[in-house]
Amino acid sequence: MSSISLALKDSRTMARRNLLRMRRYPSMTVLLVGMPILFLLLFVYVFGGTLGAGLPGGGGIGADGRAAYLDYVTPAIVVMAAAAAAQGTAISVAMDMTEGIVARFRTMAISPGSVLAGHVLGSVVQSLLAMGALLLVAVGLGYRPGASALGWLALVGLLTLMALALTWLSVALGLVSDSVETASNLPMFLVFLPFLGSGFVPTDSMPGPLAWFAEHQPFTPIIETLRTLLSGTAVDGATAAAAVAWSAGITVVGYLWARKLYRRER
């Protein structure tokens, strides 16, 4: 077998291990999937009636506003679900590092990258399932995506790329943490960052510097692209390119950082 096929086989073994661990420790998965769903309910039923009325072209206060806001906020909460799953990744990487099992892996004749690759593969799968579950709940609440077949394909592609970026970044955050507690706190900013973007309210309603930040942070082009893909309207090329570039960039930085951290002696 070539070294690449060995690396793939080891990574698959490690990914299976991580998926098995998620099944054995379902409370964390339930929490990470459940939290964004709660946010969706909160934003639609508590704030939606009023916030929706303030959207450009939004309906009146009450049921109309709620329906408009459900359309508007769903992509942001999908992103939030990926960020929450990333938090779980950081925790499980840190847990692994504090246990002796990783030292065992390092003394075995396996592909050195497979330990982290296994985490990433397992987490991306978990993240996609969480986002899928959230979309289903949104549909249950009355959300009607208008994406074409090609649009769905592009959507899954972008969601996978984003999940990959968030996961590699949180693998690094999990490695840089010296305890599981730190690892659960560090990626918090990823869950809050969508708020400071176009996910919940249009950025032009924000004060100057904040609006500038909101327009230039990575989640905004991602959320905007998701929103147009889901609604089936025409995608803005530059925004989509920015979304892909941010995701790819964060993936590369997260990967290189994680690899450096994993290779150091402990």
């Binding site: 661990r21 054995r24 246990e99 030292a103 075995m108 002696e265």
Partner: protein
């Protein structure tokens, strides 16, 4: 059988520092294939660092280390395929069951399904793990978890096995079980390097004991050789009654009386002539001894005699270095 085999583990001038703290200050060791070397030393002596370097977890700052004929720095991958490591901290996946942990090893070792299952079944049987096959490893007792840990290490049939304080924290029965396992590994031809703080353990298992202190090997030899190197030991006289003990006390005022066991202990005799003089004196004083027992110093005496002065010296040099 007497054909000399090349050493399975060979260290020359191995050095390692963490910052300005010297942990290994030039270690030389050779472990013949099929033998057991016990690395004995107090906490912080450098035992775990040695194992970490040999098992490719750490790089040495200087010197050379070879395991199973492969240089650990130049060819870590080849070393890894020959070794098995059971460290001080449990290296099992607590969320996975016993069976899944063993399966994970089989997959990472790229064993085919039948071979993997056969090895897992044989090791589970040998380590009494069968009743726990479907239990998550986190729910096992310390002793059982250590056995699973070792079973996972042995899935790859390593020719060189590193055991870093394998029985620390285990109850006496689990410790004995583990000793039996180590002996059976040696019988199967494996080479073992084990670190321990328990002299009894080194005495029970090792062909060679190397005493590590302050980053240096301060003594090396068979357990018997090490015991002979230092003074100590005692002669215990067995006496029938209190009157006998009184007689012994008159003959040897420097002895220690043990009424509960009806024995009288003397410092070790100075070789055979000393023993003869002692017997003459027993006759002169009509001491009614019914038997006697000569004990050599145990490894505890060796350990204390060898490590304490060395450690003080090492601490002094470290302070001076700062």
């Amino acid at each position: 059988m007497s054909h000399p085999r090349p050493p399975a583990i060979e260290l020359t001038g191995l050095r390692k520092s963490f910052g300005d703290r010297v942990v290994l200050d030039g270690i030389d060791l050779a472990v013949p294939a099929g033998s057991v070397l016990a690395l004995l030393g107090p906490n912080g002596a450098g035992k775990t660092t040695t194992v970490n370097i040999l098992s490719t977890l750490m790089r040495a700052d200087g010197g050379r280390a070879a395991v199973a004929g492969h240089d650990v720095a130049a060819d870590p991958f080849a070393v890894r395929s020959s070794i098995g490591v059971t460290g001080q901290f449990s290296a099992v996946d607590g969320l996975l069951t016993v069976r899944e942990n063993l399966r994970l090893m089989a997959d990472l070792l790229r064993l085919d399904r039948a071979t993997g299952q056969a090895r897992a079944a044989a090791l589970s049987e040998r380590f009494d793990l069968l009743p726990y096959a479907a239990k998550p490893a986190a729910t096992l007792s310390g002793g059982m978890r250590r056995k699973l840990d070792l079973a996972m290490t042995l899935m790859g049939r390593p020719s060189v096995v590193f055991l870093d304080e394998p029985t620390t924290g285990l109850d006496p029965r689990s410790r004995r079980d583990l000793w039996d396992i180590v002996r059976s590994l040696v019988a199967d031809g494996a080479t073992i390097l084990l670190t321990t703080q328990y002299l009894e353990e080194a005495d029970a298992l090792a062909d060679t004991v190397a005493v590590l202190d302050g980053g240096r090997i301060v003594a090396q030899g068979t357990p018997a050789e090490l015991k002979r190197r230092i003074p100590g030991g005692a002669i215990h006289l067995h006496l029938p009654d209190a009157a006998g003990l009184d007689a012994a006390a008159r003959a040897f005022p420097d002895g220690v009386r043990h009424d509960e066991t009806s024995t009288y202990s003397l410092p070790a005799a100075d070789g055979i002539p000393g023993l003869r003089r002692m017997l003459d004196r027993l006759a002169e004083h009509d001491v009614p001894a019914s038997g006697l027992e000569v004990t050599s110093p145990d490894l505890d005496d060796v350990f204390l005699a060898l490590t304490e002065p060395g450690r003080v010296a090492a601490d002094d040099t470290r302070k001076a270095a700062r």
